[in-house]
Amino acid sequence: MGTLVEEIFSRRAGRQVRAGEILLLDVDYIMSHDNTTPLAIKAFRAIGKPIRDKSKIVLHLDHAYPAPNILAAENHKKIIEFVKEQELPYLFQQGVCHQVMIEEGFITPGAIVIGADSHSNTYGALGAFGAGLGSTEVGVAWVTGKCWFKVPETIRIELRGQTQPGVYAKDVMIHIAGLLGMDGATYRSVEFGGEYIDNLPMHERIIFPNMSTEIGAKCGLIAADAETLRYLAEETPAQGTFETLTPINPRYERVVEIDVSNLSPQVACHPDVDNVKNLEEVAGLEVHEVYIGTCTNARYEDLEVVANMLKGKKVNPLTRVIVTPASARILKKAMQTGIIEILMDAGCTVTGTGCGACIGRHGGILAPGERALTTMNRNFVGRMGSPLSEIYLASPATAAATALTGRISDPREVAELAGG
């Protein structure tokens, strides 16, 4: 009985739990990456106790990978030496951590996964509890196999209707961020549901829990269903039968109903993710870089949308258009199907996978006075480089349209999309 997060926690606790309770729960996996693992190792050494279960620890090198400087290289060295020393089974260098966690089958319905990365909420797309926390807690979980949670209250977002051509899950989520605000869901579980979500394929569903972080949420959840099971079976090595938990007689703190039918493409404007405008209001604004990447919007289907719009065309020659696939697997598939060739022929710079540009490390840093339109999930001042640069967030389709002109442009006006 309860909301989805109450159901997941109740199953793990072995009794009915309610919002407000403090629980100490076993976690299934403990994720961290090259930016957060060094501090976790520091905490682990300070605690001075052995690892509880090595098979729960999943490490990634993605935030500054391949190393852009000596300090980053030292972090990678430290992590690899730790993996050797502790004989840990899982170290990945194949892409953005959250994408790899899903692709490699670590995320399954009802699982409880914590990560030293704020976008660990992403795992909620498959009906798993995913939450971000800090490095020290990761070190603690290595030793204990457990983590404390306050069972959160839930905000239900009920989405009705179907989006118009040219409008994607990213536009809907940016719209939600504008409605709720940057702290609109702090400490809350945000449950996304309704006919719009039911009809959405997994690669689009992932946007919602991923960006629930941007409104302060502890977790963002979508109940697992037939689409979740299809995705797991076809796209991941996850084996077995999975129980698809759903809310049962839930008591929500708040229900927000949204009809997506008439929504325009949305843009989250500098300097806040909740500074949201209809694309029409910002169309024509010059941009110096278009960045298509990150755990939010650089999956195969995103690259496919971009390639369909850029095929046979050239991007604006004075705009840097950078495409960073979310994982090596995505990059490989996009190579095999010709998408990478289309993007390169259009003048895009296709890079290896990773998070570098999104955190201002490398691979697309902005100069003072520059403006980027990106498929990322956050636009904090200075996030991608100079504190005097500006970041605008939008869908891959809006990014492709903008790449063609060097100005924020409407994807609905690109013929291939309008026709499709």
């Binding site: 100490l24 300070a46 001075g48 030293a116 800090g134 404390w148 940057m182 702290d183 502890k218 001042v381």
Partner: protein, 165 residues
Amino acid sequence: MSKAWTFGENMNTDEIIPGRHNITTDPVELAKKVFCEVKPEFAESVRAGDVVVGGRNFGCGSSREHAPIAIKGSQVQCVIAASFARIFFRNAINIGLPILECPEAAADIREGDDVEVDLSSGAIFNRSTGNRFQAQALPDFVLKIAEVGGIVQFLKTHDIEELTA
């Protein structure tokens, strides 16, 4: 005197310590860059015992623990805010950075005010305005961590089960 350094709403961890500087884990090095873009004079001028004061949603954004470590490294005695983002709240408690949630105090305190804080009781006294405030009490299990100076210290002498016992 304990000088107040004030910051606005939604002070995110990118602005507390930008990504290009959080590649080290050394508190002293991190403290040299803390708030470097939003308040460049902070790192050089802050004195041990000063107080950081924020608005709503302090510490939102990235989970980087470097943010509370950088603030702790600057030797301020605590952060007072109208509210804290959830990961920052956990991180601060876990690494032993005292935090006090008090919207009234956050609204009253101005840059440079002389602020007296009693961390054990949560009492806040703004000497500059003469106003007194009481911060929200931390939950018992959080106090267990805070009292010993962080989760690492707690685990050295306790089992994790004792947190919620």
